[in-house]
């Protein structure tokens, strides 16, 4: 409870982790607010079906609040004038204050428990944060947004926050690196999916580093780092110790 998890990918696509967490929390009965900026609802829905979760049903029942970034952006730009009571969460795209306050309000309103709710703890899931920088948000605004989300979801509501970011080793995108490094320092758990340094391989799709930041909560503790390699299949992902992929054994 009250944990901030950072999903990070380098040289590969870490979205399988997002799919995992989405189905994991839905199956656990939590109320999930999913800010999906990069893909459409049907994409997540189809993958979730393979993992055994029905997103449409969860949305009907109110367990899942889904913000489809692409659709919301189109509504903002091509739709009719917005109603005064419902500001678009992505309004920083077309208005000048490049702040993400409207987005944060959306998150807060969707995760605040109302009387009828019987779900377990709230969860905020973001895929992915690096897109906000591409859309014109300043890095400081993005960090502020995450800070506010942590304060309200992790501390006030005792929920969890899971965020995906992209990063590259020799990236020239300084804004992105700034955001990623800052988030790393404030995370309780970092899941870092990396492509293999030796290049592409058919049997091992990448390696995942799991960093439990025990030093964040207690001064004398060391961070715990575990490294596994993985292979993604159609319906699940298999993890194994380094060098022990099924193809080798």
């Amino acid at each position: 409870q009250g944990k901030f998890t950072l999903l990070r990918d380098t040289r590969t696509d870490g979205s399988f982790l997002v799919h995992h967490f989405l189905s994991f929390y839905l199956r656990a009965g939590c109320k999930v607010c999913f800010v999906a900026l990069l893909q459409s609802f049907s994409h997540y829905s189809i993958v979730a079906q393979k993992l055994g979760v029905n997103l449409a049903a969860a949305k009907e029942q109110g367990q899942l609040v889904f913000l489809e970034g692409l659709k919301s952006c189109l509504d903002l730009l091509f739709g009719e004038e917005e109603q005064p009571g419902q500001p678009s969460p992505l309004q920083f795209l077309s208005r000048s204050p490049r702040e993400l306050r409207a987005l944060f309000d959306f998150v807060r309103v969707s995760l605040t428990p109302c009387a009828r709710d019987s779900w377990k703890g709230p969860v905020l899931l973001v895929d992915d944060l690096s897109v906000l920088l591409s859309l014109g948000a300043a890095p400081v605004s993005v960090l502020d947004f995450i800070h506010y989300c942590r304060a309200s979801v992790c501390c006030q509501l005792q929920g969890n926050v899971v965020v995906l970011v992209h990063s590259n080793e020799d990236s020239e995108d300084e804004e992105n690196e700034l955001v990623v490094n800052s988030l790393c320092h404030h995370s309780d758990l970092i899941l870092w999916a990396e492509g293999l340094a030796t290049g592409f391989c058919k049997d091992v799709h990448g390696q995942i580093k799991i960093i439990k930041r025990l030093s964040l909560r207690q001064a004398a503790e060391q961070d715990l780092v575990q490294i596994y390699q993985y292979k993604i299949q159609d319906r699940n992902v298999t993890f194994f110790a380094r060098g022990l992929s099924a193809a080798v054994l």
């Binding site: 994409h43 730009l77 897109v131 592409f200 319906r235």
Partner: protein, 341 residues
Amino acid sequence: LVSTEEDKYGLYSNLLLKYFLAEGVVCGHDLFVASAKEHPDNILKELPAPLLDDTYGKDLGDEAAVKSEDFQDSMKIAWRYQSLPKIEASPTTYTKFGHYYDISKKMSPELYQSVKWHSFYLHEELSSEPEMQAWNMNSGYARLLQSIQRIISQEGFDGSDPQKKQRNVLRIGIQSLGSILWGDDVCCSDAPEDPHSLTKFLYVLRGLLRKSLSACIITVPAHLIQNKAIMERVTNLSDMVVGLESFIGSERETNPLYKDYHGLVHVHQIPRLNSLICDVSDTKDLAFRLKRKLFTIERLHLPPDLSDTVSRASKQDLAGSAKLLSSGCGAVAIGKRHLDF
């Protein structure tokens, strides 16, 4: 959303764009062509003519038959390799996906006028319509988005018109996005005036594509964009990214390794849609070749080394061996590897 990083002179990326549009004509899809460089009418006039199935199939069939006869003989020296499947450098008879084109001939006007096509030529659009709302974005991009959205909703590609029984696909081709001709200075300076215009445009375009039955290919002059951060963001926002590197004017043109080819194809990203996995091919080294009638993409394979020198200069070694030779290390061209003898 397929992004193509252009090669230095834009020759080959334009060719890919034309293939995409020609395929659309032959399949009966609607087309939307946007450009700031040349008028879309001219682009359409230059589309390659489709080949009739039987002639090309026959040529391929003959070639394949001849090849398979040769390899019936058993291998005498490399007999261990006998059991491995024969590597097909380029797909021949077993793949029949799409159509083939003859680039030495142009497509007949009747053929491309048989499909409905829409064009967007930036200079015409800017002069005709008055100022529209800008959305904090480059006005050229904003107009293009508005135009695409108008076509999508008017022609019913987004399923908004339930009356329409026959659903069709819209193929969008955008040439040289990000170049100075669109009014964007990402290609000129390291700190452009509005670094987010291009990425915002791509995001909205992605939204439009997801919402409708359309496919889009864009070409981007990546070699001109100074700020590499923008190219990274463009890559993240696209579904598929293919880079073309042509050998014209570079040192690789004379490298015997590449003598059969005109350039390399780098597949930077493939789409991972609606599934956890993506369809990755076995090999990642692809090269392209422009023959008189055909543009082919093949697996990069090394030509047989029939020269007198013992070692072969590969792309990494090229710089290394040049350095060694100039420092007078002897008559033999030594590569960087110490196992050469």
